[in-house]
């Protein structure tokens, strides 16, 4: 019944319906508008938010600190590419998730870590942390932390060896502040580590963890671009203050400020716990998740055998995410119970 002669008016205007002819009409269901975000945009935004921390790491530990970071990125991206070829799926490297995993892993390695082992960590992070679960979105555990847990279990010496770190200025810290606190001399500990040092950096630790200030800048980037929500970060920080404070009131531990500024607490709160895939997606669940990580971390630091505890806390809470999601499901609009 298409009768071109029946066109009332506009046909004579030349262009008319040429562009919208039956041939190229798309039959797509609504909505026909989009917010404009893509997964890869999110990934690259987080990558940018990590740059201050990377910069601080290089500033304090020297340019050689880049070596393990690059190693981890190479391992992660390479593994992603290979897995994509094996599965004959579309190339998922450009979406940036593997790059981000590698960068995250690199930033939680000691500055003098062997680059070959960092590559292995990257491969494990993407391969065991993500690919075996079915790829991006289906993984249960934070891939970067899976990589780190593997490295920690495989090369405990290398992963806790801070002595090779070429510290810039006069810093002598060979152990991390937390390590000094747990195993060192209290006097040495009190003398060396000041709050301003913890805030600015220049203390022993992983490449990305050293400067709290750089992490806070990254957090600001994530919050302003609305890539991450404050809920998990906020509840984890508040949880850290509350639990650490409670224990220090009971005479156990150094108190909230030290706990939050030292080790991986901030880095974990800002970049690890907020990973979409492995954190709850209900509002209430996110509060529970953050507070749970804080509680576990403080418990491990106070009563466990390890000086640090953020990594295992996040991994443990990752495992609890399906349960948290189920329990904290939002009430459907208008439902009474």
């Amino acid at each position: 019944m298409a009768d071109e002669s029946s066109v009332v008016d506009g046909a004579k205007k030349g262009v008319a319906l040429k562009a919208v002819s039956e041939g190229n009409l798309e039959l797509v269901t609504s909505p026909h508008s989009h917010f404009g975000w893509t997964t890869s945009r999110i990934m690259w935004t987080v990558t940018i938010a990590l740059l201050p921390s990377l910069g601080a790491g290089i500033f304090y530990f020297g340019p050689l600190a880049l070596v393990p970071v690059i190693g981890a990125i190479v391992g992660a991206v390479g593994c992603e590419w290979v897995v994509g070829r094996i599965n004959k799926k579309a190339d998922t490297v450009p979406d940036g998730s593997a790059f981000l995993t590698g960068l995250l892993l690199g930033l939680i390695l000691p500055p003098g870590f062997s680059p070959l082992h960092a590559v292995l960590g990257g491969v494990v992070a993407v391969g065991l942390g993500k690919a075996v679960f079915g790829g991006l979105g289906d993984n249960i555990f934070n891939p970067a932390l899976v990589g780190r847990a593997f490295l920690q279990a495989s090369f405990p010496a290398g992963m806790t060896d801070w002595s090779t770190a070429v510290t810039r200025v006069d810093a002598v810290s060979q152990a991390t502040p937390l390590g000094l606190f747990k195993f060192g001399e209290p006097s040495q500990f009190l003398g060396d580590i000041t709050t301003s040092k913890l805030l600015l950096g220049n203390v022993g630790g992983c490449i990305g963890e050293t400067s709290s200030l750089a992490i806070i800048v990254g957090a600001a980037i994530l919050l302003v671009t609305r890539v991450a929500h404050w809920r998990i970060m906020g509840s984890m920080l508040l949880g850290g203050v509350v639990f650490s404070g409670a224990f220090s009131l009971l005479g156990v531990g150094p108190g909230p400020l030290f706990d939050i500024l030292s080790g991986g607490f901030l880095f974990g709160a800002v970049f690890m716990a907020t990973d979409y895939v492995t954190s709850p997606n209900t509002t209430r669940g996110q509060y529970v998740f953050g507070a749970g990580i804080a509680l576990l971390t403080i418990l491990i630091r106070r009563f466990g055998g390890l000086p640090e505890g953020v990594m295992y806390s996040i991994l443990l809470m990752n495992a609890a995410v399906p349960l948290i999601n189920r329990v904290t499901r939002p009430r459907i609009f208008g439902a009474t119970s």
Binding site: M1, G10, V15, E26, H32, N281, F333
Partner: protein, 454 residues
């Protein structure tokens, strides 16, 4: 003061500036019009006309076929050529009456018969002060008025709530939260008094005790002002609710929540909380039918989008093919990618430009790549943005996975039936998942499930 609103929602780019200053124009009759028998939610109407018969504008072409159904009238005088199967909006084909508008052939020599009248058939107009509630409902049914909000629910049914559901609020949905669309806005500005008449008529039909209101998003300050002035001028009791601009503010449940703070329970209609919602266009159609005696012959719609050369607000004869409307608006440009009937959030993509405009058509959008922003689908990263935005607090990403796995019982347990397909989730999804499609599929399959024993 915090503006009234609801939980969740998104802010799609509005693009209202394309047409908000374009006054309503009447589009001339095309050479052929295609009138579908089913222009409403429910059963299609039954055709009454014979091939070759001369029909007058306003004449009943097809009668209502049940309680939830509506009659179809001829939008123009002319010759009923034939009934055919043709494309309609929504991607299917349906029974369509083809009418060639024009004067009747004069009686041939030797044939007897009076000259045929070509003037519109009018019903008897009532006066606002005199008309009774029953008369209004009867006229609305007779005139085949359907809801203009999108679902095209027969309005007469909505005006006759069961006696055990007392109605105390009637609110006109003037949120027009869909981007691009400005026809309600133009109607409110250009036909303020008629709209107030329509509101009063609906109020009358529902009973004298019902409170009247109109909810408008605060991105239309001029319409809010015009209505407030109108209400004062006419000295009537109509409350103008100023609502926050947020999609889907025009969802019935969202509107009631925002205006009155009442939450419609899952699976229930607004009447459950004593409310009836009517659209601006519906109120005006009721006014025209009751006070003017006219049946709907045109659809007021916005033709917009970056892909159309001359965006306009038009009164288009029902049955006009989309192709003609687009041509009338200067045609589409090279960047045009998709033609959408309705708003961009809930409207249907047209698969054929031969599909006709129907009673409830609210807009025709010719959209370009720039507006569609449709990169390929990627993996869901569980970001939860869909859940955060969902106005009815569902977990669309979970439902998507369950629907893909065919776990319909589980989707029901997660409340999929509450979904109103507003598209908020898919709009916000960074992975560009076809969430709405799967939610629709899930709803359809859940409806077919055996009833849960309780």
């Amino acid at each position: 003061m915090a503006l009234k609103s609801f939980h969740g929602g998104v802010h799609p780019p509005e693009y209202k500036e394309l047409t908000e200053d374009k006054s309503l124009e009447v589009m001339p009759l095309p050479a052929e019009i295609f009138v579908p028998l089913g222009q409403h939610l429910g059963k299609p109407a039954n055709s009454l006309v014979k091939k070759g018969e001369y029909v007058r504008r306003g004449q009943v072409l097809a009668e209502s076929s049940g309680f939830i159904s509506a009659p179809v009238h001829s939008p123009a005088s002319g010759k009923f050529v034939k009934m055919l199967k043709g494309p309609v909006v929504g991607g299917t084909t349906a029974d369509i009456l083809l009418i060639k508008p024009g004067e009747p052939d004069p009686p041939k020599e030797g044939e007897e018969g009076a000259p045929v009248d070509s003037s519109p058939m009018l019903l008897e107009p009532y006066r606002l002060e005199m008309v009774s509630g029953e008369q209004i409902i009867e006229r609305v049914r007779e005139a085949g008025i359907v809801g203009q909000g999108g679902a095209a629910f027969p309005t007469a049914v909505k005006l006759s709530p069961p006696p055990d559901k007392p109605i105390d609020w009637m609110i006109i949905n003037a949120a027009e939260c869909e981007p691009y669309l400005t026809r309600d806005y133009r109607l409110m500005l250009e036909r303020t008094d008629d709209l107030i008449d329509g509101i009063l008529l609906i109020g009358k039909a529902l009973g004298e005790t019902v409170n009247l209101g109109i909810g408008i998003e605060n991105n239309k300050p001029e319409a809010i002002q015009a209505l407030r002035e109108g209400v004062v001028r006419r000295a009537v009791q109509i409350e103008v609710f100023e609502l926050k601009t947020k999609y889907p503010q025009g969802g019935e449940k969202m509107l009631i929540d925002a205006a009155l703070g009442r939450k419609v329970p899952p699976g229930a209609l607004p009447m459950e909380v004593g409310c009836v919602i009517q659209n601006v266009g519906t109120a005006l159609a009721i006014r025209d039918a009751v006070l003017g005696g006219e049946v709907p012959a045109t659809a007021t719609l916005t033709v917009s989008g970056l892909g159309i050369n001359e965006p306009r607000n038009l009164q288009v004869p029902i049955g006009t093919p989309l192709r003609e409307v687009i041509a009338y608006c200067g045609g589409a440009n090279e960047k045009a990618r998709r033609v959408v009937v309705g708003g961009p959030m809930m409207g249907f993509a047209a698969y054929s430009l031969d599909a006709p405009v129907v009673k409830a058509t609210s807009g025709i959008l010719v959209l370009t790549e720039e507006e569609l922003k449709a990169p390929p689908e990627t993996a869901c990263v569980n970001c939860g943005k869909c859940a955060e935005a969902c106005p009815v607090n569902l977990l669309p990403f979970r439902l998507l996975k369950l629907a893909k796995a065919g776990r319909w019982e589980d989707t029901r347990d997660l409340g999929i039936e509450v979904c109103m397909e507003c598209g908020t989730c898919a709009f916000t999804c960074p992975a560009h998942k076809p969430l709405v499609q799967y939610l629709r599929l899930g709803k359809k399959n859940v409806r077919n499930l055996p009833r849960k024993e309780s």
